[in-house]
């Protein structure tokens, strides 16, 4: 496969290499990783990459997966146009 160049977050095109570098330099939690790299903030709302981000962090932190705080499910649960939101 493409090794570290594998795209983890398709919506924001964040590669595994970027994620690993961010984790390595900042020793961050999954939430901070999301804030720093935008991985998980795309249109799909993290459906594609949330699990991999959490797994990546729990792997790096060496804890078993249930200890590290997982990423939240941010509203809106599905993309909504301003037209529908504001009902203009």
């Amino acid at each position: 496969m493409r090794g570290n160049q594998t795209v983890v977050c398709r919506c924001e095109e964040v590669t595994l290499e970027e994620l690993l570098k961010t984790i390595q330099t900042f020793k961050c939690s999954s939430r901070e990783l999301k804030l720093r790299t935008r991985a998980g903030m795309g249109v799909c709302g993290g459906r594609t990459c949330r699990a991999s981000l959490d797994h990546l962090i729990s792997q790096k932190e060496g804890k078993n997966p249930t200890d590290s705080i997982p990423l939240k499910y941010q509203p809106p649960i599905r993309p909504i146009t301003f037209k529908n939101l504001g009902d203009i």
Binding site: R10, C11, E12, E13, V43, C44, R47, T48, P79, T81, K83
Partner: protein, 111 residues
């Protein structure tokens, strides 16, 4: 260029249904009633449904069950829908989403 599978070893031959014509990026295509936009375009050999708003990379169908939003297309002049979930209608005008200009970053110039 019709890539529709008409004879299938398990599903047998396709029952002929009503033809539907629609346009994608200004080009006219034929589809069968009951097709989604994604399957209709795939049958016409079109796999690139949109371009990434930041990098301009071509994107197409990924999950095909409405989760990943990779197949979003513009229908009519302002409605953005998921191609894999939206059935094709007669005379539908579909356009793909393209890369956004980044004038402040000296990027793509859209005059």
């Amino acid at each position: 260029m019709n890539k529709r599978i008409v004879n299938h070893p398990i599903l047998d031959t396709l029952t002929n249904k009503k033809d539907i014509s629609f346009s994608f990026n200004g080009k006219n295509h034929k589809a069968v009633e009951g097709d989604t936009i994604a399957s209709a375009l795939l049958a016409n050999g079109v796999r690139t449904l949109r371009y990434h708003e930041e990098s301009g990379n071509p994107r197409g169908v990924y999950c095909n069950i409405g989760h990943c939003f990779e197949c979003r297309v513009k229908v009519g002049n302002s409605e953005i829908v998921r191609a894999c979930l939206t059935p094709v209608e007669e005379g539908m005008k579909i356009d793909s989403l393209t890369q956004y200009p980044t004038p402040l970053k000296g990027g793509l110039r859209h005059d």
